[in-house]
Amino acid sequence: MKPTKPLTYRTIPRRHTSLARKVTALVPGVVLLSALVWLSHDLALDDRIVLFRYLAMAFAACMAFITPHLLFPDNDKTLILQLNPSPRRLLLHHLVKLRALWLFGLAAAAVIAFGDSTTPAQQFPEKTRLFATSTMALTAIILYALYRFVTIGERSQQWSEGKAGRRLFQALDSVGKSTPVDAGMFPTFMSTIMVTFVGMMSVVVAASIPQVHLATLPFVLFLGYSGFRLRRETGRFDRLYYQSDAFYDELFTNPVTGAKESRDPATYEAIYWVPPRWRAAVWTQIIQLDRKRPMGRIIALLSLTYWLLIWLGTPESWHAGWLVFWILSKNMLAWPVAGPSLSPPVFHWWMMPPGDWMIVRFFLQTRWTLALILTVAAAALFSAAVSWQSVMIWAGADVIVSAASAWLITRNNEFAFKKQYA
């Protein structure tokens, strides 16, 4: 036997990632950082501090939403079982999974603190302090999100099996309401709210402290608290990891709950606006996505928040920023539909060519374009801050992003399969 050279031992398995995938992942980050450079290059220090607060709030909201999807179910579970890493190494494994987002947050914080093209050398100690504060805030948010979501497995299973939350469901039943998603998702929703709330409150509390030196204190406490909670869980991290992973695995990839659907799925006839050639495929993609995500409610929430921002009289750049978020969220939330569990490549290859699947995804993505048009049009009707012209501009932007998104997810699924085997 050829002697094997000793491997550099890492408990955290690394998957080979193609250059195309790396570029695909990097592009949104580079675009966002470029936008940040453009926004902050001539700002005064006080404005930079305000921009950092927005960044920390957005980061908290992002981590609250994305953390469970990044961590669970673990694609490397077969290997994890084989290698059987210790609880401490499992914690490291999760930290490494969140590392890219953390580094992106730090890069954004560095741009805000030091990206000064007019007076780069001025107020350097203050800028350094701002960067240090940002680092603490973003690290605290990430650690808190990890703590919340990794400790969620047991409670989620109890909710899912009807052992917890009985009173809530009885109350909902009594008013004739049903829940749109698996009951096991309630602890996830609560954690999403908690991570957003605690992250944002730390920023609000820090902003309310007039003394510059003391303004860092809320983040120091937040970081200490998050680190302490995670440290306390290190010894039993294996149990937390396997139980949370088991719950999300059952929820995301083995939806065999056997429970009755709370809403009737969309009918084939309801997809009348899609040409017959692609209608059946769009229909099956829509009903799968709706079973996975309450898209209608998410879209309603995004639109209500937009109207709220206008009603509060916030700057126009905020409205535009929120609509960008609206469009990106709507598109990205549909991405799982192109994953192998919902769109098995072999089956799709047999059904129709990859080019057709790209068109199917385009229709899937644009089914909410009318909702966007109505959202902006209603704002234009009641507020002078929104022009009628912008209605069509945003609709056009949504169509372009939908096309790009359709191309991207089909490229990673059906086209990748074709390239591999055809």
Partner: protein
């Protein structure tokens, strides 16, 4: 009853759906092979998932040497080998490298002995020189042999096998059965689910028929 591996009043349901397993009691003896048999969807894989700590029970528990396996999964998994029917292994490693990694991760690597043991195991499994190739290029049968080899090389006390013979040719099936029988005669405990009753008959001392409802 010894405290080797005991299942007590085990039940499992997914969400608020029907019970897949309910009221299951069983004692597994050391050095035996137990076949898990039953129709599709009867709960065999769910039971193996519960034993491999990738699913958690709705009620009851599984204890190993008197301790619930869910309290400290890392400690329990140190003594377990797992062969799943849907192996998702790193495609850019060879079977040799994966096995070395497994041994090093479990702190069982020995510079002088391990390469020889790996070589011997692969030969017994009729895994030819293609084991030097990347796993991404393997057929499903080769993947199963890789999983089986990686599990056996760690010398676990219990091995869990989910449809281990499905993708194997006749020669490899025979070789795998010989290896597993040798493992059993050395004191290893086997839990295996398979539809291939003839293969199971050459290995198993005991059977559990699924679905297991209310302990029956």
């Amino acid at each position: 009853m010894s405290d080797f591996l005991n299942v007590k009043q085990l039940s499992k349901q997914y969400g608020t759906g029907p019970m897949i397993i309910s009221g299951m009691d069983h004692h597994f003896r050391k050095g035996t092979a137990t076949g898990l048999i039953g129709v599709n969807g009867s709960g065999k894989t769910t039971f193996l998932r519960l034993l491999s700590v990738t699913a958690f029970p709705t009620g009851g528990t599984i204890t190993w040497r008197g301790q619930p396996i869910y309290d400290a999964p890392h400690n329990f998994l140190q003594h377990i080998g797992i062969v799943t029917d849907a192996a998702d292994l790193p495609g850019y490693l060879s079977a040799n490298e994966l096995m070395e990694w497994t041994l090093r991760a479990r702190k069982k690597w020995n510079d002088s002995e391990s390469p020889g043991r790996m070589d011997e195991l692969f030969k017994q499994l009729h895994f030819d020189e293609r084991r030097e190739n990347l796993i991404g290029t393997y057929s499903s049968g080769m993947l199963q042999k890789t999983m089986l080899a990686c599990s056996l090389i760690t010398q676990p006390e219990i091995i869990l096998l989910d449809e281990p013979f499905r993708a194997l040719d006749e020669t490899s099936k025979k070789a795998s059965l010989e290896l597993l029988n040798e493992y059993k005669s050395n004191g290893g405990t086997i839990l295996v689910s398979s539809h291939l009753r003839r293969s199971l008959a050459k290995l198993c001392d005991d059977y559990i028929t699924f679905p297991v409802k209310d302990g029956s």
